[in-house]
Symmetry: C2
Subunit: 206 residues, 2 copies
């Protein structure tokens, strides 16, 4: 009996290290695939359509939004980015797992459209640690850092809508926990009631 894959949504405040955890998970798990976003932004040199992004024209993107073909979308600096529902569904249907790493607002959009996803909130061990990470990353100005940290309280407010909380005190430990969550979720009764039915009716799960 072929089993469907699951969608794992890694989310949490900026600077919690969800990107690093996501890369580690993908490196360790052959059956796990990263969700490829659709974007209206132009491809940069070296970027490949269907690998880095699905590059689409603005009116094509608009059609996807109108036809509810995106699990979530957002506009950032004049470009649109979104998660195509079809690609995710096809992967899950063929038994692959899909992971995506996204901010809390995107995660909450996905939860509305795809509640059967597994929503993991990555927590920094402390706000001080979070600040250190954002500063160390060196990508943001002091004003942007202050703004990011100001958003954290609001983002923590979404946490209880997630299924799991994983503290990122160490990348290896946090990654192992999320790998365990994937294994456990595949065992959840609501994803396996067909097995129980099969053994009751046909005497075997095959």
């Amino acid at each position: 009996m072929a089993r469907h894959g699951i969608l794992i949504v890694l989310s949490g405040p900026s600077g919690t290290g969800k990107g690093t955890i996501c890369k580690e998970l993908l490196a360790q798990n052959e059956n796990l695939h990263y969700s490829i976003s659709a974007t209206t932004r132009s491809a940069r040199p070296g970027e490949v359509n269907g690998v880095n992004y699905w590059f689409v024209a603005p009116d094509e993107f608009r059609t996807m939004v109108e036809q509810d073909e995106l699990l979530e979308w957002a506009e950032v600096y004049g470009n649109c980015y979104g998660t195509p529902r079809r690609w995710v569904s096809d992967m899950l249907w063929s038994g692959h797992d899909v992971v995506l790493e996204i901010d809390t607002q995107g995660a909450m959009q996905i939860k509305k459209k795809f509640p059967q996803g597994v929503f993991v909130f990555i927590i920094p061990p402390s706000l001080k640690e979070l600040e250190d990470r954002i500063v160390k990353r060196g990508a943001d100005s002091p004003a942007v850092i202050a703004k990011r940290l100001g958003c954290v309280q609001g983002e923590l407010g979404f946490a209880t809508q997630y299924d799991y909380a994983v503290v990122n005190d160490e990348v290896a430990t946090a990654t192992a926990k999320i790998a365990a969550i994937i294994v456990a979720e595949k065992c959840r009764m609501e994803r396996n009631s067909d097995l129980i039915e099969a053994i009751g009716k046909r005497g075997s799960i095959d």
Copy 2:
């Protein structure tokens, strides 16, 4: 911040191998302890009170039942057996995890009294396999084997009340899945909302 342990209830039809999985889990996991039953049966040579069982007098057992001190209990061949709530609570409170292996009726009793437990239904890969295992075990007469197999359909009917389904096609694989379930359950948001609160209020989870 000290975290409480969790109670794992391994259950399923007779012959699914839950006993073997339970032993494997205990051997691999130092923080996991086997729930010690109270019994009115006399100690056999070599059995130690507080290790193999809590040996109690029948009127003491009756008092435990009356005062709701047992998470479940049953009478088997004139002797009573039960799971003391106090011992389990003390272990969980001090951060240890507790596992117990029990039939579906016992598991359903525990679920009523301790719904925060984690209930795992162990499935045999097939009814044929189940029959082979019970026959191979050599502990039962053909009449008892027929009766056990006749009960399986009824026991499968309880399955959907469990949190997880684990197929025991191979002991090592099934044990690894349950170990992952323990890790994942500790990450569930409802067990960690205090972490989110702590970081929001005090800036740290410690």
